[in-house]
Subunit: 230 residues, 2 copies
């Protein structure tokens, strides 16, 4: 059987590695051979999403479509793009295959969860584009945007520089703000966030777009999820 799962990564590299680790850790496998087979097209040179959204610098669409073409040409039938901000341009991606929509999958998980006041951690481009917010509002859920939105961006940039412990310290007051302002959960709507924030860092339930997409990939590959125990 051929490999049929494709991933477009590099946005950014550390977040992609975390995503691959999620796939590995969440698969119920007793040996190497029971793990997911996939092709990763990792192109960190894909133009910066934030700059494209706010400053009109080069759009990431062509570079992402090049990756999609590459994967399709090689027989891939399901593609994941583990970068929430890139999903701003989702309608411009040219896929003749099953292109998973990370935002839709996560919004569905939020609706299923029953949380009504989720705190929202994302890049400023994801926030301003109302990528998640619009879908949630339509379902009667108002996401709580932290006042310290710029601080979230700083933490994301620190992850991209490999400064994980500094990123964690930077994000801490934002998490505190969400805990204090009535959030009943936290949506991690940027793949850099779960690199630094985990269950030890807050008592609020975490809704993790990265994990949700990883689980979808495992199931799409015909593999089993590990029993949920953490």
């Amino acid at each position: 059987m051929e490999i049929n799962i494709g991933i477009i990564g590099g946005m950014g590299p550390k977040a992609t590695n975390q995503f691959l680790d999620r796939i590995t850790e969440l698969t119920d496998a007793a040996n190497d051979q029971e793990h997911v087979r996939y092709i990763l097209y990792s192109d960190p040179a894909i133009p910066d999403r934030i700059g494209a959204y706010f400053n009109g610098t080069k759009s990431p669409v062509d570079a992402i479509n090049k990756g999609i073409d590459f994967l399709e040409r090689n027989g891939i039938t399901t593609i994941a793009i583990p970068c929430n901000t890139a999903h701003i341009w989702f309608s411009e991606f040219k896929a003749g295959v099953n292109l998973l929509n990370m935002v839709d999958l996560t919004v569905k998980a939020i609706l299923d969860s029953g949380y009504k006041h989720p705190g929202f951690l994302a890049t400023t481009a994801t926030i301003k584009s109302r990528l998640y917010i619009k879908n949630l509002e339509e379902a009667g859920i108002s996401a709580i945007i932290p006042e310290q939105e710029d601080t979230v961006m700083q933490a994301v940039k620190l992850v991209k520089l490999g400064e994980i412990s500094r990123a964690k310290a930077t994000l801490k007051p934002v998490v505190k703000e969400l805990e204090d302002n009535g959030s009943d959960s936290i949506i991690m709507a940027c793949t850099e966030i779960p690199v630094i924030l985990n269950r030890e860092d807050t008592e609020l339930p975490l809704i993790d777009s990265d994990r949700i997409l990883a689980e979808k990939i495992i199931l799409s590959a015909g593999k089993r999820l590990k029993p949920y125990n953490k």
Copy 2:
């Protein structure tokens, strides 16, 4: 410019993720765009190397050659295979491109380092095949094989099951043995080993085949290594 770096991964998945993380962490990059671009062909279904070597089960050669074909067909010019044990079959790999030899690169690093009595952590197949040992002996260096060789295999298997902290506890007495028996350094000649063993765990210098291959990939991609500070 096209992507010209290829990686064959999945042997095992956790070790591959660690290898990708090494590439990310060791690259001197101020933003996503300065990181290495690559295609990862990740096929954990590649037949088990240990079984093939000792029990004559299916050889991994055809599956690895399929990966090499895939990468070559897509314009890749440099390929890394981050699995030491797979290098037992290196002469059977069909590459028309620059196929990096992790063992040769690491042996060169050992010779450059000047260590004369390196402790040797590897799978039993790597040990019995004398993959590193022969090259080192020819240079007058006798690698010290731990008496608790089976324990190393247990630790490797635990990594493959995602049981990292148990793997660390399992490997600890072997590291103690190497410290006590006159080893002047430790060769990590299995990509599962650096997932569990790092500089905090021993005072002996670590010679890490995974890191050496990652650095070679970064340079092959025309990127810069981070200044060495740890």
